[in-house]
C-alpha cells in the first residue's frame, strides 16, 4: 500500500504522465482510499432466503437418502459378552474373577446372523466407559521410541510405565501397558472361520510410526504387568493389535478393529464364538462388546449422517415453505417504501 501511495503521489506531484501500470494501480488505490471498491452488496430479501433454503433442502435430501440407504445396507451384530462370560459364582465379584489368573477365562457363546453378511466382515471390540482420552493416558507414550526403540532414551513422557530394570520398556507408557487382550475365535458349525488380523491398522501408522526393527523385548515382564502381551520376536510395525490400540479414541466409548472374516455369512446362521475374557473392564464398570459388521462405501452402520442430512433437508424445505406462505399472505410490498422513496426524490431535487 505504502509503495502504491508513494508512486501515485509522486506521479501526480511530479506532473509526469504516469505509465499505464501506475495508472491502474493509482486508480485502484484511489478507489481504496475513497472506499469505493467494486463490491457486490447482497441483500437478504425474502426471495433470496426462500430460495436458499429451498436449494439447501433440495441438495440435502437426496444426499441424506443415499447415505441412509448405505448405512441401512450394513449388517451389524453387537454382542455384549463381559456380563455373559463370567461364571455364576463370580457374578457378585467380577473384579476378583478377572484378576485371578488361575481361573480359565475361556467362554463360548453363539451368535445368530440375522441377515446375509457379505465379506469382508469386520470384527470390532467395543469398550464403553473407558477413558482412552484421559489427559494422563493420552500423553503416556513415546512416538520416538515406538519408531526407534532403544536408540531413543528420553521416555519421560511414558511415566509411570517407563522403566524396567533401568531400561526403558519397549513400548513404554500407559497406553501400551493397558493393551486390550481379549481374543475371539469364530467357528461355523464345525469349521473354524478364519480371521484375518492383518491390515487392521492405518497404513501410515504401520509404516511411519512404528519401527520395523523395534522389538518389545521387555514388555510386560517386569513387576508392572498390565494388559496384553506382545510377541517379543515380532517387530512393532507388525504388531497391528498394538498399533490399533495406540491410536487413542476420541470418546470414552469406542470401537477398535480386531480382524476380518473374509467369507460371507448367511442369514439365520449360527456362529460359535470362543472368547478369552482377559481384559479387566469390571474395575471401572466398563462394558465390552463384540461387533461384527459389514461395510458400505460410507463405512460402518451409522445412520447419523443420513438422518442428519434428511433432517436438515426437511427443515430447510419446511422453512422455505413457511416463509413462502408468509410472503404470499403478507407480502412486503414496496408500498411502505415507495412514498418515502418519492419523498426522498423530492428532497434531493
Amino acid at each position: 500500500m505504502m509503495d502504491m501511495e508513494v508512486r501515485s503521489t509522486s506521479g501526480a506531484g511530479g506532473g509526469t504522465p504516469p505509465v499505464p501500470v501506475n495508472l491502474r494501480r493509482s486508480k485502484a488505490y484511489y478507489r481504496f482510499t475513497q472506499q469505493n471498491l467494486p463490491a457486490c452488496k447482497p441483500v437478504l430479501t425474502p426471495g433470496w432466503v426462500i430460495s436458499i433454503f429451498l436449494l439447501t433442502g433440495v441438495i440435502f435430501m437426496p444426499i441424506g437418502l443415499i447415505a441412509l440407504h448405505a448405512s441401512q445396507s450394513v449388517v451389524e451384530i453387537v454382542y455384549r459378552y463381559d456380563t455373559e462370560c463370567i461364571p455364576e459364582s463370580f457374578r457378585s465379584n467380577k473384579v476378583a474373577y478377572i484378576k485371578d489368573s488361575s481361573i480359565s477365562k475361556n467362554c463360548n457363546q453363539t451368535l445368530k446372523v440375522q441377515k446375509h453378511m457379505k465379506a469382508p466382515i469386520h470384527i470390532y471390540y467395543q469398550l464403553d466407559n473407558y477413558y482412552q482420552n484421559h489427559r494422563r493416558y493420552v500423553k503416556s507414550r513415546s512416538d520416538r521410541q515406538l519408531l526407534h526403540g532403544l536408540n531413543y532414551n528420553a521416555t519421560s513422557s511414558c511415566q509411570p510405565e517407563e522403566l524396567n530394570n533401568e531400561l526403558p520398556i519397549v513400548p513404554c507408557g500407559l497406553i501400551a501397558w493397558s493393551m486390550f487382550n481379549d481374543t475371539y475365535t469364530f467357528s461355523r458349525e464345525t469349521a473354524e472361520l478364519k480371521v484375518n488380523r492383518k491390515n487392521i491398522a492405518w497404513k501410515s501408522d504401520r509404516e511411519h510410526k512404528f519401527g520395523k526393527d523395534v522389538y518389545p523385548f521387555n514388555f510386560q515382564n517386569g513387576t508392572l504387568v498390565g494388559g496384553g502381551k506382545l510377541n517379543p520376536r515380532v517387530p512393532l510395525n507388525e504388531q497391528e493389535d498394538l498399533i490399533v490400540w495406540m491410536r487413542t479414541a476420541a470418546l470414552p466409548s469406542f470401537r477398535k478393529l480386531y480382524g476380518r472374516i473374509e467369507v460371507d455369512l448367511e442369514a439365520d446362521e449360527f456362529i460359535a464364538v470362543k472368547f478369552v475374557n482377559n481384559y479387566n473392564s469390571y474395575s471401572f464398570g466398563g462394558e465390552k462388546k463384540l461387533v461384527l459388521s459389514t461395510s458400505s462405501w460410507l463405512g460402518g452402520k451409522n445412520d447419523f449422517l443420513g438422518v442428519a442430512y434428511i433432517a436438515v433437508g426437511c427443515c430447510c424445505i419446511f422453512i422455505s415453505l413457511l416463509f413462502t406462505l408468509l410472503h404470499v399472505k403478507n407480502p412486503r410490498h414496496e408500498s411502505e417504501s415507495s412514498p418515502q422513496d418519492s419523498e426522498i426524490q423530492m428532497t434531493t431535487r
Binding site: P42, Y137, E161, H208, A249
Partner: protein
Amino acid sequence: MGGWDRIRGSRTRLGGGGSRNSQASDRQSSSRTVRLGSVRPQHPGHRTIYCNDRDANLPVRFKGNSISTTKYNVATFFPKGLFEQFRRVANLYFLMISILSTTPISPVNPVTNMVPLSLVLLVSLVKEAFEDWKRLQNDMVINSSPIDILQDQKWESIPWKKLQVGDLVRVKQDGFFPADLLLLASTNPDGVCYTETANLDGETNLKIRKALERTWDYLLPDKAAEFKGEIQCEQPNNSLYTFTGNLIIQKQTLPLSPNQILLRGCSLRNTEYIVGVVVFTGHETKVMMNSMNVPSKRSTLERKLDKLILTLFGVLFLMCLIGAIGSGVFISRKYYYLGLDESVEDQFNPNNRFVVAILTMFTLITLYSTIIPISLYVSIEMIKFIQSTQFINKDLHMYHVESNTPALARTSNLNEELGQVEYIFSDKTGTLTRNLMEFFKCSIGGEVYGTGITEIEKGGAQRNGLRIDGVKKATTTVHEKGFNFDDPRLMLGAWRNERDPDSCKEFFRCLAICHTVLPEGDETPEKITYQAASPDEAALVTAAKNFGFFFYRRTPTMIMVRESHVEKMGKIEDVSYEILSVLEFNSTRKRQSVICRYPNGRLVLYCKGADTVIYERLAHGNHNIKKTTREHLEEFGSAGLRTLCLAYRDLSSDLYETWNEKFIQAKSALREREKKLDEVADLIEKDLILIGSTAIEDKLQDGVPSCIETLSRAGIKIWVLTGDKMETAINIAYACSLINNDMKQFIISSETEAIREVESRGDTVETERVIRASVKQELKRCLEEAQHYLHTVSGPKLALIIDGKCLMYALDPNLRVTLLNLSLNCSSVVCCRVSPLQKAQVTSLVKKGARKITLSIGDGANDVSMIQAAHVGVGISGLEGMQAVMASDFAIAQFRFLTDLLLVHGRWSYLRICKVVTYFFYKNLTFTLTQFWFTFQTGFSGQRFYDDWFQSLYNVIFTALPVIIVGLFDEDVSAPLSKKYPELYKEGIRNTFFKWRVLSVWAFFSVYQSLVFYYFTIAASRKGHNTSGKIFGLWDVSTMAFTCIVITVNGRLLMACNSITRWHHISIAGSIVAWFVFIFLYSGVSTPYDRQENIFFVIYVLMSTSYFYLTLLLVPVVALLGDFVYQGIQRWFFPYDYQIIQEIHRNEPEVSSRTELMEIGHHLTPDEERSFAIAQLPRETSKHTGFAFDSPGYESFFASQAGVLAPQKPWDVARRASMRSQQRTPKKN
C-alpha cells in the same frame, strides 16, 4: 532585588568560611563573581548565566543542548518495550498463561500460547521500533545540524548538541534557533527581528522580537567578543509566552521580557542574521518542556469492550470451575489403566481430590485461554490506523480545494466514537462563521451609517414574511476584502458635511492609529495589504483607508497616516503620529489603547474595545450619545454584527509622564508583570469620551445551515458556545437554522433590569446573591415549563439560551442537575458570552452528567479547553492559528465536512468496529466451547481436543485477515445514502450494534455452533469409515472438527458482510486455503524430536474416507443454518434502519454513487489534484523540531481549570507569513 542580595550575602559568607582553595579561586577570578568549588548557589527560582564565558558557567552543569525524543535505546528497548506491551491486560494474561503452560499441569504445549502472544508482541514491537527509529534519526539530524558560535572572535560552526548555556550564537535567515536565546543584536535596524512560530503554536504570522537598545552593537564578531554580561532569569519552565529576567551588563540592570526571547523551534525570517545568548538548552527549552504527552482518549466502545473482556474472564472462570469440580469427582483408582498408584503426582492423586480440582482449574485456564481474543487489540489498532490514514485523511469529500486542506485524523483511536456522537459543541466564530470580517456599519456620534443588510436580517425578514429585493449596488460602492460598506454620507470625504465632523475625524483617526496592524507591499492604497493578528483589525484599518485615513507605514515609534486634508477636499497630507505607549489587547482587558502624540504636540489616548469595558470607563455626561450608541450597538448585535466601541481621551503631558513611570516600572517587574501592567493600564484608561462604534459582519461558512439541518436529522443536538453577545449568538443560531420561530425559547440572561440595577450599586456580594437567586428561579421555571411541553403530544421544540454570567451560577453544583435536565430536553442550546473555561465546563457537564458522547468543534485558541474536554475534539484547520488543531483529534477544513466525518466515516467505523469486535468474540467463544464440550468426555482431565499448533494459529492465521478486511471495507449503505438518510446515524447514538443483547445473540449462536461442531463430528465418527472398516482416533476427529470450524467461522463472516469485495473473497478463501496448506504440510512431515506424532498423516487418512466429505458439507451448513434463519427473520420482521434503506435502493445500480465520486475526482483540475497530492505527502514536519508536539503551546484545559485564564493572543505586531510559500516554491525550481 532583595533576594539577590541575600544570595550574594550567603555566597560571601560561604566563601569566607571556605578553604584556602576557594579563597585562591576567589582571588583568581576577582573580575568575575565568586566561584565556590563545584557548586554555585543557584536560587531555586532563578538561574544565573554568564554570557560568553564557558568557564564561569561550567560549575553549574547546565544541561547540554542535545535532545533525545526516543522512547527507548538499544539496551532498554526490550525491557521497556515489553513492559509497555504487558501493561495491556490481555497481553499480561497471555504471558501468565504461557508461563503456566510450561509447567506439567498444562495440557498444551507452551507453543500454543507463546506463538500468538509472540506474534502479537512482534507486530507491536516492530511498530514501536520503527517509530522510535524514525525519532532517533530525527534527533540525530537535529543534534548535528550546524550552528555558528563565537569562539576567539570568530564565528565557528559546531553541531547543535555541543552548544552550551551562555554561548553567543549567530543564527542566519531562515535558520532555526538551536536553543532558547536572548536576542542581543540583529542586522535589521532597531534591533528587530522576525520569527516564525509555526512549529510552536502553528500560527503562521510572523512575530517581532526586539533586542534591548543597550545590546544592539554586539553584532560583529570582534565586537560581540567583548560582550560580557550576566543574565538572571527564571528557571526553565513550559510557559511559552512568559519570560522574566534581568540582564546585568556593566553594573546596569536591564529588565528582560518575552520580547527578547527567541524560542527553540522557531525560525528567523526577514533578517539577515541575529546574535543571541543561549539561555535554555536541550530539554530545558520551553518547547521541549511543553512536549509532554496529553493523555490519549479512549473511545467509549473500547471501554465497553473492556467490560466484555471482563465478562469473558467470568465465563472462563465458570467453565474452569465446572471442569475442576468434575475432575475432583471423577478421579478414582478404579481406572487402573490411568496408573493412579500411590506415587502418583498431585494433580491426579485420588487421595486429595481438592488439590486435584485446584490444579485442574489451572490446567483448564490454560486450555481455555483462547476464549480471550488475543489478537483483537492489535487487529483493531491496525484497522483504525488504516481507516484514519487512508480513508479519513484522503477523502476527497473532505478535501477543501480553496485552502488546499484535506481532513486530518490526528489520533486513530477515536474513529468509531465519531459514529456515536450525540452532542456537538460548536464554537461560532471561524467555525460556523467564516472569520472573514467586513466593515459593515458604524455609529458615529449617535448617528448610524451604512446601508447594507446582513444575511441574518434577510433571513429574519423572510421568516416574518417580508421579501427583500436584492439592493441595487451603487456604482460608487467600494468593495474590497474587509470592507463592505456603502453610505454616501461618509464616502469620498462627504463626512465633512455631516452634523459632527469632528467626531468623524476622531473616529477615523482612532481606526487608523489604534491597532497593531503591519502594512505590507507598496505604499499605495490599491496595493497595500494589511497583516493583522485578527481579521477585525485589518477590516478596521481598511475602513479607515477607505474613509481617507490611509495608514501606510509603521516604525517602532511612529505611525504614518496619509490623511485627506480635513479642511480642503482632495488634498492629502502625510501625518506621522508618535506612538508613546501601546496597551495591548488581552482577553481580560478586552480593549486596546494607544497613546500617541500628534505632530502638533497633542497627546491622545485612543481606545477601542468591547462595549461593556468601554462604557465602564467613560467620563460622566454626554448621556445622549451614550444612550443612542447603546441602542445602535444592540441593533448591530441583532443583525449579527460584531461591535467595538471607540473612545479617546486627551492627556496632559504631566499626567502622561507620571503614569509612564509606573508603566515602565510595571514593565520591568520580575513577578506578576501581566497583572501589574493591567493595573497600571487601568489608571489611564478612564474618563474616556465615546466616539462611536463599529459593526463588522461575520460571514457564515459554506453549507453550514444545511449541515446543521442534516446533523439534527441524524439525532445530533448542536450547542453553540460563543463569546459573542446574546443577540449575535441568537441571530447566528437563527441563520444556521438551529433556532426557528416555532421553537419555544427559554432565555436566561443576566441583562435584566433587576440585575443591572443591583450591579450598578456595585456591591459584589449582593450582586452575586441576586444573580444566583434569579438564575435558580429561572431555571426552575424553565424546567417546569419544559416538562409541561414534553408531556403534551405535539409540543414545540425547545431551545435554551443562556449567557456566561448566568451559566457561571448555573454550573454551581446545586443547580447543575437542573441545568442539565433542562438543557437535555432542549433540541438546541446557545451559550453566549462564555469563557473558554466555561466552554469546557459545559462540555464536561454533558459528558459526565448525561453520559452522552460529545464532540467539540472549534478553530481558535479559546476552543482548546473545550476540544480537550469532549470525547472527540475537532479542530478547524484553515485560516486562523493552529492551536485548536494541535489539541484536536480530528481536523477538518470546514464545518460542513462534519457531515462526512460523522455520517459517513464515523458511522462506518462504528459499524465496522462493532462487527469486528462481536465477530472476534464469537469466533473465540465458539472455538473454546468445542474444547469445553470435549472436557466433559475426558473425565474432566483437561485433555486438549486440538493439536497445539491448530490452537495457536487459529487466531493469528486461519481467522485473522478476513476480519481485518471486513473492518476496512464493510459498507452497509453507500456514502451518498448515508448522507441522504441522516436518520441512520441514530443507530450509532443508540449503540444498536454493541449492546449486550446483540452480544448475547452472538453468544447464543456460538453455543449452538460449537455444539454442532462437536457433536456432529463425534457422532458421525463412531463407526468405521470406509470399506476397510478402520477406525478413527482422537486426532482424526479433532482435525475434522477444526476443519469445519475454520470453514464455518470464515463463512459466518461472509454472511455478516454487507458488501463483498474482491478482497473479502481473497482473504476468506485464502484463510481456508491456508488451513489446508498448513495441515497438508504439517501432517505430512514427521519431525526428529518427540512431539507426539498425533497429527501425522491425519488429513490424508481423513481425506481417504467419505466421512470427511459428507461431514464437511453437513456441519458448516447446519452450523450456519441457525444464523441464517435468525438473519432472515430479523431482516424480515425486525429490520434495522439501514436494512430498509438497503432494500429501498436494492435495485439502484451502485454506479450512481461511483460515478459521482469519480466525477469529483475528475472535477479537480490538474493543479488541484497536484496540490491535493502534495497535501497528502507526509507533512513537512520541520526536521528541526522533530518531536510530536502534542500539547498546544499554552495553557491546556487543566491549567484553565486551575483558574489560569487562557493567555491573550500574541497581539504583538504581526504579519501573516504568506511569504512562507513564496520562499519555498522558488527553492524547488
